[in-house]
C-alpha cells in the first residue's frame, strides 16, 4: 500500500527540490558520468554529519530555490530546510554507492516499508527492528542523522530503494517539535503497511484514513 499511497502524496518544497537534485545526479551516476560519480563520493562523506561540518558540500547542493521561497524566509526556517536537504542528499549518496539500480525511487517505499523489507516474510528481525525504533526515538537532529545512516547502510546492502523525496519532507517536518510524533507515526505505519506482494483492496481502502492522520491533529 505504501507504494500506492505515496504516489498520491504531493511533495513539499523541500521534497520537490531533493527529488529534482537526486534525479539529476542519479541519472548521471547510472550513466557513469564522471562528474556525477565524483559528486556522489563527496556527498557520501557528509552522510550522518552536520552540514556545517563539511564545507566541501556547500557548493555541491543548490539551495537557491529554497532561498527564494518566502516560506523559508526566516533563518530558523532556512536552517531546517537546509538540514533536511543535506541529510536526504548525503544519505542517498551513501545508499547509491556502487549500486547499478536507482536507490531513490519517487513513489517507492517509505522508510518504514524499506526497513520491513529487510526482514524475511512474516518474521520480525529484532536487531533491525530495534535499530528502526532507535531512529524513531532519536532525541536530537544529530542523533537522528547518525541512526539513519546505520539504517541506510543496511538498505544499501540489500539494494532496497527508498523514496528520498518523501524522506526529505519528513526530515523537514521532524524538526518542528510538535509535529515530530506525526513523522514517527508515519514511519511506523509505513513499516506495518508494507506488503511483500501486491496490495490488497483493503490496503487501498485504508488510505482514506489519511485525513485523520493530519499532522496538525497530532500533538
Amino acid at each position: 500500500m505504501t507504494t500506492q499511497t505515496s504516489s498520491r502524496a504531493a511533495l513539499g518544497s523541500v521534497g520537490t527540490l531533493v527529488d529534482g537534485q537526486i534525479r539529476r545526479l542519479q541519472q548521471g551516476h547510472l550513466a557513469d558520468r564522471s562528474d556525477a560519480v565524483a559528486t556522489l563520493a563527496r556527498l557520501r562523506r557528509g552522510a550522518g554529519r552536520a552540514p556545517m561540518a563539511v564545507p566541501d558540500l556547500w557548493a555541491l547542493i543548490d539551495l537557491t530555490e529554497l532561498s527564494a521561497d518566502p516560506q523559508f524566509s526566516g533563518e530558523a526556517a532556512q536552517t531546517r530546510a537546509q538540514n533536511a536537504t543535506y541529510a536526504a542528499l548525503t544519505l542517498w549518496a551513501l545508499h547509491q554507492q556502487s549500486r547499478q539500480r536507482p536507490m531513490h525511487r519517487r513513489d517507492g517505499l517509505g522508510l518504514g516499508g524499506a526497513v520491513r523489507r529487510l526482514m524475511p516474510g512474516n518474521e520480525i528481525d529484532d536487531p533491525v527492528r530495534k535499530r528502526f525504533v532507535r531512529v524513531g526515538a532519536a532525541p536530537t537532529w544529530d542523533a537522528l542523522a547518525v541512526r539513519l545512516r546505520e539504517v541506510v547502510t543496511l538498505l544499501r546492502r540489500e539494494e532496497i530503494s527508498l523514496d528520498y523525496a518523501l524522506l526529505a519532507d519528513q526530515l523537514h517536518t521532524w524538526q518542528y517539535p510538535h509535529r515530530r510524533a506525526a513523522v514517527r507515526d508515519a514511519w511506523g505505519r509505513s513499516f506495518h503497511a508494507y506488503r511483500p506482494q501486491t496490495s490488497t483492496p483493503t490496503d487501498g481502502a485504508d488510505n482514506s484514513a489519511v485525513d485523520e492522520t493530519d499532522p496538525k491533529d497530532t500533538p
Partner: protein
C-alpha cells in the same frame, strides 16, 4: 382498625379525593411544574407537556393509571376507527369527568372502607407501622434519594403519598416483607419473596407525543389488535371490591386485559395518616404475576425469547420481558424497540428471538392505516429499574428516549426502519474496533487490557450518542436508506477516527516501541501504536464501507503538504 389508626378531624374522617385534589406532578409548556387533580389533568391535557414525577418510573406508573382510566371511561377504543375519532376529536376525554364522579369513592386515598390502591384494615399481628422509606424509592441503594428532605421521608403530603402508592404497586422491590393478618402465605410474621411489582419486571416503553393529550392517546390501544381484553371482564382495580390481604382468588385467569394489568395490585399496603400528612405505611405482597409469555397482554415492553426459561418450565417457547440495560442508551436497543415482529435473523421456521413492544406494533398500525401522518415525530421513552441484592433494593432507575419519525415503523417503507437499526449495528462494530485499538495499545505498552478497552468503548458510544439521535430524528419519509446510512457511517467514522487518533497520540513511548509477539498462525507481529493504528483504520473502513471518501494524499507524508507547514 382503620379508625383506630387514622385520626379524625372535627369535620369527620380524613379524605383526600384524587379526582379533585391536586396530586399529579406535571410539566407545562413553559417548563414550570405544578400538580393537578385527575379531573384537571384530563381537562388540561392539551396544555400539559408531560408528567414530571420525583423519579421517572413514577411517570410510567402514572401514565398507565391515566390510560386505564381512559380505557374504562371510554370502554374502548374498540377499533381503529374509534381511535381515529378520538384523535380528531376536540374533546376526546369528555366522558372522564362523569366516570370519575361515579367512582369517586374509590379514588379517595384515605377512604376508610376503600382507600385508593390500598387494603383497608391491613395490619400485622403486632400492629406495627413502618417508615415511609418502604414506598419512597431510595436511589442509589442505601442512600436516601430525597436528600432534600431534612428528616428523610418521615412525613409526606397526601399528594406525594398518592404518587408513591401508585409507584409501589408498579415498582416495589422483592425480599422478605412484613407478614400481615389474613395473608395465608405469611409465616411467623414474615412474607417471603414473591418478586418485584409488575412494572419492575418489564422494560417499560411509552410513546410520547408533544402534549400529554397525545401521549395518552398514543398509548391507548384499540381492543381489536393483538393486545386484547378478555371478554367484558377487563376492569381496573377500583371496579373490583377493595383488596383483601393475601392473593386474589381468580389470579389464574387474570389479567383480563390492560385495564386490569395497568392497575395490577402487586402489593397490599395501607398508609397511616393524620390531618397533617402521611407518616407511616404497612406494606406486603399482593397479587403475583409471572412475566413469562405475557407479550400478548403487556404492550409496554419488548420481549426476548429465553431458552433458559424454556428448559426450566419445559415449554416450547418462552418470551421474557426485554429489560433495559442501564449501560446502553435507548438508541442502542433500537432494534428491540422498532424492528418488526416478523423480522428476525433466525433461520426459517425458528420463532423470532425478539418481539418489539405491542405498543410499537400499534403505532405502526396507525401509520399503515394512514391514521397518523408518516411525517409525525414521536418519542419512544424507556423506563426501567435495576434491582440489586436478590431484587430487594433499587440499584438504579433508568430512563431514556429516542425521537424518531413514525415512518420508520411503517410497513410500506420498511427500508428506512431497517436502515435505522442497521446504523446502530454499524456503531456497535465500529466502537468494537475502537475498543480493540485501545486494547492493542495497552498490550503494546505491556499494561492491562480490559479497562482501557471498556473506557474506549464508553468514549466511543458517548461520542456517537448525540450524533445518532440527531441523525435518527432527521430521517424523513422518502429519504434514500442507502444514502442516509452512508451519511451515518461518515459521521461515525469521523467521530471514531478522531478518538482513535487521540488514543494513539496519548499511548506514549512504550506503546510506540511496542513488542514483538508470535502469531498463532505463524510469523511475528510487531505490536506497537503504529500497527494498532493501522489495524484500527482497516477495521473501521471494513465495518463502515459507505463512509470511505475518495482518498487523496498519503498518511506517510506529513511533510508532503506545504500548506500545513507551520512557519
Amino acid at each position: 382498625m382503620t379508625h383506630d389508626q387514622r385520626a379524625e378531624t372535627a369535620q369527620g374522617p380524613l379524605s383526600f379525593d384524587l379526582t379533585d385534589r391536586p396530586w399529579l406532578p406535571v410539566q407545562l409548556f413553559d417548563g414550570s411544574q405544578t400538580v393537578l387533580s385527575l379531573r384537571e389533568i384530563f381537562a388540561r391535557a392539551g396544555s400539559v407537556r408531560r408528567l414530571a414525577g420525583d423519579v421517572p418510573t413514577q411517570d410510567f406508573a402514572l401514565v398507565r393509571l391515566l390510560v386505564a382510566i381512559l380505557h374504562d371511561a371510554l370502554d374502548g377504543p374498540q377499533d381503529l376507527d374509534d381511535w381515529a375519532e378520538l384523535w380528531e376529536s376536540d374533546e376526546p376525554f369528555a366522558p372522564v369527568p362523569g366516570y370519575l364522579d361515579s367512582h369517586r369513592q374509590r379514588f379517595d386515598l384515605l377512604h376508610p372502607v376503600s382507600p385508593f390502591f390500598q387494603t383497608p384494615g391491613l395490619r400485622t399481628a403486632k400492629g406495627e407501622v413502618f417508615p415511609l422509606d418502604r414506598i419512597v424509592a431510595d436511589v442509589p441503594n442505601g442512600t436516601l434519594f430525597f436528600t432534600m428532605r431534612p428528616q428523610g421521608a418521615k412525613r409526606i403530603s397526601f399528594a406525594e403519598a398518592a404518587c408513591w402508592v401508585v409507584h409501589a404497586q408498579a415498582y416495589d422491590t422483592s425480599g422478605i416483607k412484613t407478614g400481615v393478618v389474613g395473608d395465608e402465605r405469611a409465616k411467623a410474621g414474615k412474607a417471603y419473596p414473591q418478586g418485584v411489582a409488575w412494572a419492575g419486571s418489564i422494560g417499560g416503553v411509552l410513546a410520547e407525543g408533544p402534549t400529554l393529550r397525545e401521549t395518552l392517546l398514543l398509548n391507548l390501544i384499540a381492543a381489536d389488535g393483538p393486545i386484547t381484553a378478555v371478554g367484558g371482564k377487563d376492569r381496573p382495580a377500583w371496579r373490583g371490591g377493595p383488596a383483601r390481604p393475601g392473593a386474589a382468588a381468580d389470579l389464574a385467569l387474570r389479567p383480563y386485559g390492560v385495564r386490569d394489568l395497568y392497575t395490577w395490585q402487586s402489593r397490599r399496603l395501607l398508609l397511616h395518616a393524620d390531618a397533617d400528612g402521611v407518616h407511616g405505611v404497612v406494606l406486603t405482597y399482593g397479587d403475583p404475576l409471572p412475566p413469562q409469555n405475557r407479550q400478548g397482554l403487556e404492550p409496554m415492553s419488548g420481549w426476548r425469547r429465553s431458552q433458559a426459561q424454556e428448559k426450566k418450565h419445559q415449554q416450547a417457547l418462552v418470551y421474557m420481558p426485554q429489560e433495559h440495560d442501564p449501560a446502553r442508551a435507548a438508541w442502542r436497543g433500537l432494534a428491540a424497540l422498532i424492528a418488526p415482529r416478523d423480522h428476525n435473523t433466525a433461520p426459517r421456521g425458528e420463532p423470532p428471538s425478539r418481539l418489539r413492544p405491542g405498543l410499537v406494533d400499534w403505532i405502526a398500525r396507525l401509520i399503515n392505516e394512514r391514521v397518523l401522518p408518516d411525517r409525525m415525530l414521536i418519542r419512544i421513552r424507556t423506563y426501567g429499574v435495576v434491582y440489586g441484592t436478590q431484587q430487594s433494593v433499587v440499584d438504579e432507575i433508568t430512563e431514556d428516549a429516542v425521537t424518531l419519525s413514525v415512518v420508520l415503523l411503517s410497513e410500506a417503507d420498511r427500508g428506512l426502519g431497517q436502515c435505522a437499526v442497521d446504523a446502530v449495528a454499524d456503531a456497535e462494530t465500529a466502537v468494537t474496533a475502537l475498543g480493540a485499538l485501545a486494547a492493542a495499545l495497552a498490550q503494546a505498552s505491556g499494561s492491562e487490557v480490559e479497562a482501557p478497552k471498556d473506557t474506549a468503548r464508553d468514549l466511543g458510544f458517548g461520542a456517537l450518542d448525540g450524533p445518532y439521535r440527531a441523525w435518527l430524528a432527521a430521517l424523513h419519509p422518502g429519504d434514500d436508506p442507502q444514502q442516509a446510512r452512508a451519511q451515518w457511517q461518515q459521521t461515525a467514522r469521523r467521530t471514531l477516527a478522531r478518538i482513535g487518533a487521540q488514543l494513539v497520540a496519548q499511548a506514549g513511548e512504550a506503546a510506540r516501541q511496542g513488542r514483538v509477539i508470535e502469531l498463532a498462525k505463524g510469523g511475528q507481529l510487531w505490536l506497537n501504536s503504529a500497527s494498532a493504528d493501522l489495524r484500527f483504520r482497516t477495521r473501521l473502513n471494513a465495518c463502515l464501507p459507505l463512509a470511505s471518501p475518495p482518498a487523496p494524499g498519503s498518511e506517510e507524508s506529513p511533510g508532503g503538504r506545504p500548506r500545513k507547514v507551520s512557519a
